[in-house]
């Protein structure tokens, strides 16, 4: 029984561990060697999905710290990734409060809003208050691929949720 509890806790921490690992490690979803324009913000997909489905597994404090670590590793001004991740959390929370049943289509649509708000804040702060120049083309591609691949990760995370955590929605 106790062993089962520990396993359940480990599985439940899976999304959070993945979020931290993606933020701190060299692993990136930027396959520019294969396809130059491809880049993906997987952290935002993870945060949004789990905030909508299982908010108790994705605490805002953890999201803040993961963003903070991401800024240090990427060389961005501190707090900027945290802000954009928290905006995603906020939109996710709002959608969860307003909706009873979610489908992949509704999640995809609302994810577009979360992604747009998060990226808008991220790049407007970076452009107005920092010396770091960013290519708008890259932002566009990043936003497009993140949005485009959301359903793929939605299915994967849903599968993980049903297999290891439980099928009940939040």
């Amino acid at each position: 029984m106790a062993k089962g509890n520990i396993l359940n806790k480990i599985f439940a921490s899976g999304p959070l561990i993945l979020l931290y690992y993606l933020s701190i490690s060299e692993i990136d979803a930027n396959l520019e060697k294969l396809f130059e324009v491809f880049s993906l913000n997987l952290q935002i997909i993870i945060i949004y999905f789990w905030i909508i489905k299982r908010p108790n597994l994705m605490g805002a404090g953890h999201v803040f710290v993961a963003g903070f670590i991401n800024d240090v590793v990427m060389g961005f001004p501190l707090g900027i990734s945290s802000l954009s991740y928290l905006i995603v959390c906020f939109v996710g929370n709002y959608v969860r409060n307003k909706s009873v049943n979610t489908t992949i289509a509704s999640d995809w649509l609302t994810f577009l809003i979360a992604l747009l708000f998060a990226n808008l804040l991220f790049f407007s702060l970076l452009n107005n208050f920092s010396d770091v120049a960013i290519s708008y083309e890259k932002i566009g591609y990043n936003t497009f691929f993140t949005l485009f691949l959301f359903p793929v990760f939605w299915f994967l995370f849903n599968l993980y949720q049903m297999s290891f955590i439980g099928s009940q929605d939040a």
Partner: protein, 281 residues
């Protein structure tokens, strides 16, 4: 109508302020904290700078350890492949050694000639590049927005902002952030990178501009300039940061430059401890 507005404001407030059973902070409070940290960092308060430098050193080390598995698997593959190619590799290396031996004989003659020519040109005050620091690449995270690497040497070794970074004498980038035990190198293909360069027999001057893509581009060229392929591009040294004559890459017909060093394949680099003659960044 008013019911719908109430509904909106309740959901909005709840999303911003409500804390779950296991959550210690509301999103609103964390947004405020993140904003404060952001502005303190952007406006460069000394306390935040010092704290950031310390956090950077710690996080970079953890990142290096956390990325160990991602380095291990390609390493195993390469190890197996190289084991089977040992004989062939040995023969190739012998050939390379022979070639280097013959080059070495020419080198003394060329360096003597170079010294004499410099005397003629009265340019003996060229800065020495003998003072270099070899550094290992700790983190090479391939961001879509910023092209930079983190190396394991920092201000402890005398590294300061603006110092040029090379690999096998080829220019790789420059230092843009220093911590006590680590530094960040801005690569030549980053969008923020601008290097004055010179090339071809007319010593054409241009600015090598990174675009966030693999190959940086030559800008600010003379009017109607026609590109020729395979012309070596050198740093002109006009910015007082890079050594004049440091090779960078070869030109392409479309004005891009194929770098001698692949920015995605860096393991060790050398930092030239030359104090830039003006402040950078």
């Amino acid at each position: 109508m008013s019911v719908s507005r109430d509904d909106f404001s309740i959901a909005f407030r709840s999303a911003l302020l409500q804390r779950g059973a296991t959550q210690k902070f509301s999103i609103f409070s964390l947004i405020i904290v993140a904003l404060v940290v952001f502005f303190l960092d952007v406006y460069g308060f000394t306390v935040v700078k010092t704290a950031r430098s310390f956090i950077n050193d710690v996080v970079y080390r953890v990142t290096y350890l956390a990325s160990f598995p991602t380095r291990l698997f390609p390493g195993i593959n390469q190890g197996i492949a190289s084991h089977f190619n040992l004989k062939k590799e040995n023969e190739e290396l012998r050939e390379v050694i022979e070639r280097y031996k013959s080059l070495d004989l020419n080198l003394e003659y060329i360096s003597n000639e170079n010294k004499n020519l410099k005397k003629v040109l009265d340019t003996e005050n060229v800065q020495s590049v003998s003072n270099v620091v070899l550094a290992k690449v700790l983190v090479d995270r391939n961001s879509p927005f910023l092209k930079s690497i983190i190396i394991n040497k920092g201000s402890k070794e005398g590294i300061i902002k603006g110092m040029p970074v090379t690999q096998n004498k080829y220019l790789v980038g420059r230092i843009v952030e220093t911590n006590y035990l680590s530094s960040r190198v801005l690569l030549l293909n980053d969008l923020n990178s601008r290097i004055p360069v010179t090339f071809d027999e007319k010593s054409t001057q241009a600015i090598l501009t990174g675009g966030g893509t693999r190959k940086p581009t030559l800008l600010y060229l003379p009017e109607d300039y026609q590109f020729t392929e395979d012309i070596t591009v050198f740093a002109s040294g006009k910015d007082g940061i890079f050594n004049a004559g440091t090779p960078i890459g070869k030109t392409k017909e479309n004005g891009e430059v194929e770098l001698f060093v692949d920015p995605n394949q860096l393991s060790f680099v050398t930092v030239n401890l030359i104090k830039p003659s003006k402040e950078v960044f």
